[in-house]
Amino acid sequence: MSRYSALEVLKGGLTGQKHWQRAWRDPEPKQEYDAIIIGGGGHGLATAYYLAKLHGMSRIAVCEKGYLGGGNVGRNTTIVRSNYMLEDNAHFYEHGMKLWEELSQDINFNVMFSQRGIINLAHSDAQMDAFARRGNAMRLNGIDAELLTRDQVKEHLPMLDYSGKARFPVYGGLQQPRGGTARHDAVAWGYARAADMLGVDILQNCEVTGFDIHDGKVQGIQTTRGAIKSGKVGIAVAGNTSRVCALAGLNRLPIESHKLQAMVSEPLKPFIDTVCTFGAGHFYVSQSDKGGLVFGGDLDGYNSYAQRGNLPMVAHVLQCGMALMPAIGRIRLLRHWAGVMDMSMDGSPIISTTPVKGLYLNGGWCYGGFKATPASGWCFAHTVAQDRPHRLNEAFTLDRFERGYLIDEKGVGPIPALH
């Protein structure tokens, strides 16, 4: 398979780009694998890649019920950051940030990781204090953070409403300069291609429909493409965590599935050069390299497995948008869609062993799992390969809720829709 490089693209230009081969194979499922990862989203594919690359495993399969990358990795607002306050989150996400910074080279696929910075706007002194608390914690943890004054925010974001008519004026903001965005689909494709090159079988249109579990130990899985054996099965199915776990007898998890909407405007010339979040409503925005303004908001607020949302939340997001940046009034919305989120009870993820031996769980990503993709795959691969967590994910266990070791960054408690 040809390595990607500028030279190859130029070469292709002279030969009609005919020499490119499949980015990943389309193999038939084998009877047995050393490890199976369920879910061909970012996390599943990254896990398979790191298992093969770092843990010397070669016979690995990823089962994806639809097309690769069709889940949340293909429908998120692509924000990457590590601006967390709580220790466990901070170290985990910062590890991820470092992996992001090298990802394109590592997997030889340009994931267009753009460190254009992220600014969380504050609209009161109290909010500034809360952000300072987070920013100071970030700095002390060795993570970049800047507390911006109103004037500094204005330099980065001249299109906001500074008129004095704003219902919630901008006081300042917390910036993580290394944060930014990445090309979401490319992350899935890049990991898939890199994993495939290391021999991982990516099985698309292969839905897992059951588990073979004996004596509390996993033996294999049932799929729409037949039964497959393996003593190690990792679940990384994001919004479908409860459903797939139920197939393995793990009922009633600390998770609710909710839908989150995202939307994009018509393509525009550069309008906004950083990622920006509103502090007085649910609204965040960045601009894709294609030119679309990508907006996200709050959950629709009720359990749902529908990858489509309702109009009030779209209206709410754009109300926030108009309040914050009155210049978008004449820009048009092009498309809106939704994804299904596995909202956990403390808003933090689960990367963990389970009561079933050989069965591992990666889930509870809420709406922040895209940025976690490399770190999550990295830690989950470790957990699957070694049958125990890495230090970086040892706090993210499934039993932490019962023990009371919650990692509640927002402090809203066990109401998943509020995280």
Binding site: Y4, A6, V9, L10, L14, G16, Q17, W20, R22, W24, G74, H91, E102, S104, N108, N110, M112, F113, Q115, R116, A126, D129, A130, N136, L140, N141, E146, L147, K165, R167, F168, R183, W189, S265, P267, K269, F271, G281, D289, G291, L311, V314, A315, L318, Q319, M322, A327, I328, G329, R330, I331, R332, L334, W337, R403, G404, L406, V412, G413, P414
Partner: protein, 998 residues
């Protein structure tokens, strides 16, 4: 001023008596009332109107409707500039200004047109394969990204605040008909016959759909006359509501349809107080989708040159606008429909060089063409076009059975590869599309909601069928919503039976060269890109779309999705339905964010809650602060004072004499009933049964998970009547929670809860002289003996009966809180101020309120951060051991108790003067390099006026037991601040509470 060289001398629906002047780029033109910008440009023979996304190829008007991929312009100027506006949908008005976009200084000499020369090196997804850089960081990519971003995007946003306003409205109806073509009009007519409420929406200025530009007769009348009569008939009915210029953009759950009306877009500026646009939220019993169809283009070499247009669009320009877009036309088709374009062009005086038909069969219209001496070239296809930025100049035609190449000179190509039903709304409603193999189109499958599709939207293109289906569907919809069925008689139509359509998804290559065959014109996706995607394994249509950007432009692939997936199906060797199509998502056509945001923006983004004393504060010169959506006075600066000066003065004067503060925003909940005390016992951590009447008590609630939730004072007004206060932030949530416990969990408890936050204004009067002030106001004895600390009583205040007085204190001073019915609050407030004048009473705001509670070591929002327990906050002893209460059990989990938790303490700077900062972290080592262990954080800071030094509150691991009087560091690296500070008790003033009780 250019003349309208392409305008026919007569015909069309334009009003030649109303000429309009407009500008496009740097030139002024004229058009007529009734034109669109596109028809007016074509009338003036303007062919080049824009540049494509990637290769900056010259592009002209392609269609005559919302599907337009090419003719996108900046409409209007200054703060009203709208990027990416489809010229085909802009109604011309006098003085209109439009500019081409995605170009350099001039459209013709756009420097980026050289991209076209490098197109071989810029295939789909080239950016995924390169620009990664030699080093392991993102620098090279970010450098390149800057250029990519500048050249990507189409139009530019003005960046200026939108001066217009928007609006939203809801409406309910039994039957919603979307689309006012013949099918929709007929449906509305029969649906409305027996009184059902019918709403008809159509996205054009006038309903009529395709019938407006066809030459059919209906009931012996001209089609247009039939439309006008039908519309007039509907308009006369009370139960029918017609929305023009209104696009149904989204079909949501439970038959809810979002529509946007362009109220004033056809005018230079909105009139009077009218909104520019209005979103209609329509709730329908039954929906009739009569959304018509979109003509599909042919895919051949250089098929993107200006002058190559959809055949139906060409016919529209000729018949509806009286414009012939060229002098020498070639018509290229795989169906009968385009024959009518050839006829229309010919009859309008254009030379029709030939009609190229991919089919072998004889069209039903063949004779009509032959009568007009138009040459028909069967079993053939255009394989390439030649031309330049000024448009097509010739086409090369090949026989599909081999041999027979010829070149035809022309300046207009009208093409049709059949019509695809507009399935967008159907698909959004949850319905699955089905492939109709006979007709080679996707059609609506089974309905998931109460809706049905009719006419062209249902794949039925004959006018007669459209009318019949419309009539039947209208009647069915009426009966399904409870109204008697009345199928309307369907009028007779003049129409000939058309022969079968045989699509050709991709034309063969010419003998020489491989000119790009464009599938998605806006995003420059060509057949070669689809083939590349296929080779690289991006074969699912969803991968194809995301890899090549096929169908991701402003037109969302209305004319490119079907050809694209057909070409992929061909490459994969599978059928079209096996390949499937991508998901249709709202909006159907792009909708301005202003309209979606609606009226409540800017100052009205969220309503403001004001207390009843709001105007008094304003008169006192207060500075405001947002507390959630309330506004509250923050401080009352005197001349030249900073906020710090002000709160130190207010604190000093209150503690020194007396101050007053509006505390209305606290939640107030009235609880009545024999089980109220028992209820409080369950939801608070402390005891309530024995609270005497006339007494108040501080209480704390936990969440179910054992974390501290909310606190406040609750008073017993009579045996079975309590009044609870909550924090401002949690008032609404606590109320809903109490209702949950009472309605769901303990319905057997006889307790009624009612929010009375809005009934009562609350004014706190604090300070050593507060009693003297209060005594002048109220009719009860407020001496310490008669009304001790935590007393609660009804009273008459300043002559106003029905007030309430509480002796409670947040500041730690002798203090009272007086509750007054809101309409009297300002009056009583003034009376208190007057009464306090002799003691130099000072009004104080949230800043001083906060400072005094910090001095006194009371917890508030920053400490109740959703992660702290009652014990962490030093309130552990309040938790009753003798009873069960909400959250108790989980609060005693191992992790939630014990030495290692962060506990509530106070701080003073070691030097006694450096100010402390909220948001700082606490570390033990002054100079450690990251990662540094953080043992706590500073939650709130203030200034202890009495002892004249800065103070702070915070949480620190192990609390006072571990740290009392030891020095730790306040670390604020964001501002490079590190301050040694001593850990002390959080109560800085009157630790014994003598003042409270005094």
């Amino acid at each position: 001023m250019a003349t309208q060289s392409n305008r026919l001398p007569g015909g069309g629906e334009i009003d030649r008596g109303k000429p309009l002047t407009f500008r496009f780029d740097d030139k002024t033109y004229t058009g007529f009332q009734g034109d669109t910008l596109a028809s007016a440009l074509l009338a003036n023979n303007v062919k080049l109107v824009g540049r494509s996304f990637k290769y900056h190829r010259p592009r002209g008007v392609f269609s005559a409707g919302p599907e337009e991929p090419n003719a996108l312009v900046h409409l209007r100027s200054g703060d009203r500039q709208e990027p990416n506006t489809r010229a085909t949908m802009i109604e011309l008005y006098d003085g209109l200004i439009a500019e081409s976009q995605n170009r350099g200084k001039s459209l013709r000499n756009d420097p980026q047109r050289i991209n076209n020369l490098f197109k071989a090196f810029l295939p789909a997804g080239f950016y995924y394969k390169t620009f990664m850089g030699p080093f392991r960081n993102t620098r090279l990519w970010m450098f390149i990204e800057g250029f990519i971003r500048k050249s990507a995007g189409m139009g530019a946003a003005s960046g200026l605040p939108d001066p217009d306003h928007y609006d939203q409205m809801s409406r309910h109806c039994e039957i919603l008909v979307i689309g006012g073509g013949p099918a929709g009009l007929m449906a509305a007519k029969s649906a409305a016959a027996n009184g059902a409420r019918v709403i008809l929406v159509d996205d054009r200025a006038d309903p009529g759909g395709q019938l407006r530009y066809e030459q059919y007769e209906i009931d012996g009348k001209k089609g247009l006359d039939w439309i006008n009569e039908t519309v007039a008939g509907l308009e006369a009915m009370d139960n029918v509501f017609i929305l023009r210029r209104t696009t149904a953009f989204g079909y949501y759950d439970h038959n809810f349809i979002g529509c946007v009306e362009r109220v004033c877009d056809h005018l230079p500026e909105p009139e009077g107080n009218k909104p520019r646009q209005r979103v209609w939220n329509l709730q329908a019993g039954h929906v009739v989708l009569a959304t018509g169809s979109h003509e599909q283009p042919m895919v051949f070499g250089n098929n993107d040159l200006p002058g190559i247009m959809l055949a139906g669009a060409v016919r529209t320009y000729v018949n509806q606008y009286g414009v012939v877009p060229g002098k020498r036309a070639v018509v290229f088709t795989s169906c009968d429909d385009a024959y009518r374009t050839a006829i229309a062009l010919h009859d309008a005086g254009t030379t029709v060089v030939a009609l190229v038909d991919t089919r072998k069969l004889d069209s039903s219209y063949a004779q009509q063409l032959l009568d007009r001496k138009i040459r028909i070239i069967n079993d053939s296809a255009i394989v390439s076009a030649q031309g330049n930025a000024d448009g097509v100049t010739s086409v090369e035609v090949h026989s599909l059975s081999g041999g027979g190449a010829q070149r035809l000179d022309c300046d207009l190509v009208a093409m049709s590869n059949g019509w695809a039903p507009a399935l967008h709304l159907f698909s959004q409603s949850g319905g699955k599309t089905a492939w109709d193999a006979d007709r080679n189109i996707f059609v609506p499958g089974d309905s998931k909601q109460a809706e049905c599709s009719v006419g062209a939207a249902n794949g039925n293109f004959s006018l007669k069928t459209c009318l019949e289906e419309g009539s039947a569907a209208g009647a069915m919809a009426a009966s399904s919503t409870g109204f008697n069925t009345a199928v309307q008689a369907v009028p007779a139509v003049s129409e000939i039976h058309e022969s079968a359509y045989e699509p050709l998804w991709e034309c063969p290559d010419p003998a020489k060269g491989h000119p790009k065959k464009f599938v998605d014109h806006q995003d420059d996706v060509a057949v070669s890109d689809i083939q590349l995607a296929y080779r690289e394994g991006y074969i699912s249509v969803e991968h194809l779309k995301r890899y090549t950007t096929l169908g991701m432009g402003t037109d969302q692939g209305k004319t490119s999705n079907v050809p694209g997936l057909a070409i992929m199906a061909e490459a994969r060797g599978c059928s079209i339905p096996e390949a499937g199509h991508t998901t249709f998502r709202p909006p159907y056509t792009p909708v301005s964010m202003g309209a979606l945001g609606g009226a409540e923006t800017g100052e009205h983004y969220m309503p403001i809650r004001r207390t009843a004393i709001d105007s008094w504060h304003e008169e006192q010169g207060c500075k405001w602060i947002d507390a959630g959506i309330w506004r509250r006075p923050r401080y009352y600066p005197q001349s030249g004072e900073t906020i710090r000066d002000a709160f130190i003065r207010e604190t000093g004067m209150t503690r020194g004499s007396v101050g007053m503060c509006d505390v209305t925003t606290l939640g107030k909940i009235d609880l009545q009933g024999p089980d109220t005390a028992e209820f409080l016992e369950r939801i608070y951590i402390n005891h309530w049964m024995k609270l005497p009447v006339g007494k108040a008590r501080y209480g704390m609630m936990l969440r179910e998970d054992g974390i501290a939730y909310d606190d406040g004072v609750t008073s017993r007004m009579s045996e079975n009547h309590f009044v609870m206060t909550t924090t401002t932030a949690n008032a609404v949530k606590v109320m809903a929670n109490l209702e949950f416990y009472l309605q769901v969990i303990w319905p057997e408890l006889r307790v009624q809860v009612t929010s009375v936050t809005e009934q009562w204004s609350a004014i706190a009067v604090a300070g050593p002289n507060s009693r003297k002030v209060i005594q002048k106001i109220v009719d009860i004895d407020v001496s310490n003996e008669a009304f001790p600390f935590m007393g609660a009583s009804g009273c008459v205040a300043a002559g106003i009966p029905g007030c309430r007085l509480f002796r409670i204190s947040f500041s730690g001073e002798l203090a009272f809180e007086i509750n007054v019915p809101c309409d009297y609050a300002r009056y009583v407030c003034e009376k208190i101020y007057e009464a306090g004048r002799e003691f130099d009473i000072v009004p104080y705001g949230t800043e001083t309120l906060g400072n005094m509670r910090i001095e006194k070591g009371h917890v508030a929002g920053p400490e109740l951060d959703g992660r702290t327990t009652a014990d962490d906050l030093g309130l552990g002893m309040m938790m009753s051991k003798k009873k069960e209460f909400v959250g108790k059990r989980l609060a005693y989990r191992d992790s939630m108790t014990g030495e290692n938790r962060k506990k509530f303490v106070g701080f003073v700077p070691a030097d006694g003067k450096t100010p402390l900062k909220a948001g700082a972290q606490i570390v033990v080592n002054e100079n450690a390099a990251p990662p540094v262990e953080m043992i706590g954080h500073v939650t709130s800071t203030g200034y202890c006026v009495e002892h004249d030094h800065p103070i702070g509150l915070g949480l620190i691991r192990g609390g006072l037991d571990a740290w009392k009087d030891r020095v730790v560091y306040m670390s604020y690296p964001l501002r490079n601040i590190i301050v040694p500070m001593k850990v002390v008790s959080p109560v800085f003033v009157d630790p014994e509470g003598e003042r409270l009780h005094g």
